[in-house]
Subunit: 206 residues, 2 copies
DNA sequence: CACGAACCTGAGGGTGCCCTCGATTTCGTA
DNA sequence: TACGAAATCGAGGGCACCCTCAGGTTCGTG
């Protein structure tokens, strides 16, 4: 349960930070957000420190690992997923809810190299992110079940296929984001058209 | 233009190699093939040298760059693509030819991490590979055109979408190859079902 | 078999990134 | 303002990989 806030003024965990420390922490988070967005999750940490106007030592004092950054930055942004899922479940048409969920997820990923990596990659030590993804999975389960029950989503679609689709789309997004930011939509259109029950011709074996 | 043979006994280019050099070169190629297959194109070259029973210096004497390896190894294996394309064009049913081409391509990629990387990645300095891919593209153009002309492939599918699909599938293959070697087939089934003209519901915008 | 050319070796310098830790500065309080 | 705790700094050691080159070895021919 995320009791940690990285907004220093609200810091609930342990001692409050000294003023300079709080400022640096905030700068680091902002810098990390920008750098990850531009270069992906594997960007050198020293670049983040430089952009934050802080030494590499200070960076490590605040965030002992790359995953600590990830965990501090992305859960908040990924919280949108809950909204998207709720909206999808609220959609009177289960199919358009399902498609809307996928579109929302991938649109989110396509905004930001870092976010795209965070969603598509296994990050065992980023607990907060894992937690958000788990929540997303629970929502997805209901969305998928509803679309299947309505007879619109093909019956041989399984929950695990969502992970596969995410891998697939994450790569499309990664490769095209900087040159053709909407290319992934074409791919998704093909895919979702193939996921309709009435389109199912090729049985998906296990 | 591939006048170079990396089978020393047939070496046509320039001077013939000394016996030990020829042996080493063959060992290096075998080692590189194995290592690339297991670890992908970014595997450390020193690992290849070690497996070939040769020093790193010797490796560089034979293959001055990683791309030289790629160019020496993969064109031969990618030549299968020509066969696959021919078989697809020979198929009386344009649609099943089209699908067969995709299946053949991805099945090839799924055999080998290195091959998967070679197909999915831009390798500007691997001329031989680029050449093979270019040939593949020409074949693909006819296969796509035929499938579209027959009214079976959706009309808004474009040649460039093939590259996108390749990116997508390469990632699925990469992530699942070692744990679920056939997972990509499910994904491809969804995709191809969505590529049929009669399945087209969501227009693919540019 | 002896000699030179061809070939091989591996230590070592370069790069880029990771992360630590003792010295130094800054903050906030008394 | 002066003091100690808190925070910062950045040089530097590690690591993994890249690539080179001077010196030793092997081949194959005369």
């Amino acid at each position: 349960m995320p009791s940690i806030s990285y907004h220093p003024e609200v810091a609930a965990d342990s001692k409050p930070l000294r003023a300079d420390a709080a400022r640096n922490r905030a700068n680091l988070l902002a810098a990390a957000t920008e750098v990850f967005a531009a270069r992906g999750l594997d960007a050198p940490l020293e670049q983040i420190a430089r952009r934050a106007g802080v030494s590499i030592g200070t960076l490590y004092a605040h965030f002992p690992s790359r995953e600590a950054f990830v965990d501090a930055i992305f859960p908040e942004r990924l919280a949108v997923l809950d909204r998207i899922a709720e909206r999808s479940l609220a959609d009177p048409d289960p199919w358009s809810g399902f498609v809307g969920f996928l579109e929302g997820l991938f649109a989110l990923q396509s905004e930001d190299h870092g976010l795209n990596d965070a969603v598509a990659r296994r990050l065992p030590n980023a607990r907060e992110v894992a937690e958000v993804c788990h929540r997303g999975g629970l929502h997805a389960e209901r969305i998928v079940a509803r679309a299947k029950a309505s007879g619109q989503l093909r019956a041989d679609f399984e929950l695990g296929d969502l992970a596969t689709l995410t891998w697939a789309m994450s790569q499309v997004i990664r490769e095209s984001m900087d040159t053709a930011p909407n290319a992934w939509r074409r791919c998704l259109a093909f895919l979702t058209d193939g996921l309709r029950a009435e389109a199912a011709r090729t049985p998906a074996g296990s």
